[in-house]
Symmetry: D2
């Protein structure tokens, strides 16, 4: 079985491309919503979220929707109100958003619409605790475009685990964010070998190219 | 690491026991609901469902709830309205119940209550297409009690895959059903080596014993 | 993402087809080798094995090798001499063949050659306890052809789990065997909905067709 | 099901603790062995390897063996000589060590002995491409102690994926190494929230405490 080996920046394939938005939830993105991280809108993270991360994900989302790219949203949310289904790591941290908690939902401008898939998870890595690998196979996805928060945690693991499992991963660097700029940049460098790193404008243009 | 090897009929352990109800949905259990299997209430399957399978699962469910046994419900249901997330096998069959289809829900007397977990799936085997293995680990489950339909399909695979993955499986034979009596009985025999086969009365009594 | 839905008997695709030989080991196929199942060469199982199962698998194997079809062998074999790595089910049965046990190997005429993959497992279902899903993805396999023993156990589970995971499964019925003819035939019927069931001659001809 | 939530530095449990040595292979640790990274023994990485990483892993390994701690070795190695079974990421990098390549083996002082398990893999994350999750369950492992190379790649992913999957992870920081000191230290900080970080002396003492 001879297979040609692709380049990490290969062109996205029509009908085989999906955008994965990671943890762009009210609990983390609205200043003051997360009781464990009170913070103010002036903090680095919330400022970056409002001025860069959310707007860029809006652009990605619009470009995906306009051009028939599959969109999958993942959020941290338990199946149970008492959180007993969570992974041990989230129990220890602790981190818990219940199934009925409105703060667990994506921020309004990034909410799923129509028939888009929303995957709740209780771990950092979406591949470790959900059936996303099964879903992506059923959807025929090869090129997986990743954005969201935190660059050095849930985004990092989606990139690395996805690469290990055979997806062609793109990380949209300016649509990701972390608690500090250093953590953001260090992470992009740390997992840079497992993906193609590109910016929102470039990726949105590639989505548009899928249509024509 | 010396481990003592248990017997397949070992006593259920408190806090480590769960009841898994499989595909007890309106679409399959209400005569006429499934357009592909019109049938009448007089047919073997619907008669058995009404007189034996549903009542026995009601008893199991009550006994579990009364005695603090974790209950997990699985149903065949797609995440998307167009069913594109389904496994290839269900696309070929075809089988599809959309996320908003009321017939996808369990029959009223077997609906989840309180904080019980409901897992939609698009395959026969619940371990192949959901994150149930992850959940059972988080819940600390060792003894997994299985009932529902069809004995020779989704029940069969939950028993076998669960056994392979290290759970102590009990199949409640008189709380399972199949299209014909022969298929029901043949299946029980076929996978009998992978589990402890018991009846509803025995299992309900064991649930009660967990409390005291 | 529009996908055309295939038929279960679709033509095998060149470079995407693999033959999976299941548990065709000396321990089970040589009369007297398995201390737990002494038996004589005159018994149904050993007679069938010698006259039908082994010869048909030899034909499949030759046809695969002649025509560039990937071949994967799986056997029941522990990684450790004391068998502590085995799944709980095999510990309870008990079943154990050590890493150095010559009886764990395939019968001589069905031994792997050249660069073929041999996967040891300690469960019934090869998808539950090995990394075969990962390997098949890396190899680009879509059409998975299954044969071996026992029809109602390890073959059954490879067919069903493989179908759930999105493979196009073919079961070569006359290259499978079980302890009794009834168990063999009942199993073929039980899992017949998850695969295309064909005979050795038909499958070998399809392998040949891949070359031209 | 009430579960008490442990601390990340909980005492290791007897019979539930394993040491996982990652990629301590001749190809990476012997200066000049890896054709893609010629280097000299004077380079940071090889110096650290010889003076710190290898000796500390020798100490860990001895302490584990002396006190009945399970030891698992993982190495990067393909199942096939042509490497077609490798994950797509390793095909793109490219990275390939064949099944008969002596450089794929651990360095002599860290070779598996007796009945220890050696797991070949073709990905960065050992949980993504091997059946280690299945094995650890069968072995009854809860506390997983991780060391080896590279801190920012294969070690990083073993820590994070293992934590997501419910293991109590310990990373032995002075028994890990990376290409530069900055990458080593940055990685330890990046995944520090997913594990307990300790040094070789502390971990070896804990292994000793398991015996008494």
């Amino acid at each position: 079985m001879t297979q040609s080996i692709p380049k990490r920046d290969e062109a996205f394939r029509p009908g085989q491309t999906a955008l994965l938005l990671i943890d762009l939830q009210r609990a983390w993105l609205e200043p003051g919503a997360d009781p464990d991280h009170p913070g103010s809108a002036e903090d680095y993270f919330y400022r970056e979220a409002a001025q860069r991360v959310i707007p860029n994900n809006e652009r990605l989302l619009q470009a995906a929707r306009d051009n028939g790219v599959e969109v999958i949203h993942t959020i941290i949310r338990s199946l149970t109100r008492d959180g007993r289904d969570r992974g041990l790591d989230h129990k220890m941290t602790p981190i818990h958003l219940g199934p009925d908690d409105p703060l667990a939902l994506p921020v309004p401008s990034l909410m799923p619409v129509n028939d888009e898939i929303l995957l709740p998870k209780t771990s950092s890595g979406v591949f470790n605790s959900t059936n996303i690998h099964y879903l992506l196979r059923n959807l025929g996805v090869r090129n997986l475009i990743v954005s969201g928060i935190m660059t050095d945690q849930c985004v990092d693991m989606a990139v690395r685990d996805g690469a290990d499992l055979g997806y062609m991963i793109t990380c949209v660097h300016d649509a990701c964010g972390a608690k500090t700029q250093q953590r953001h940049e260090t992470a992009l460098q740390a997992f840079g070998g497992y993906c193609w790193t590109a910016d929102t404008t470039t990726v949105a243009a590639r989505f548009a190219a899928l249509r024509s």
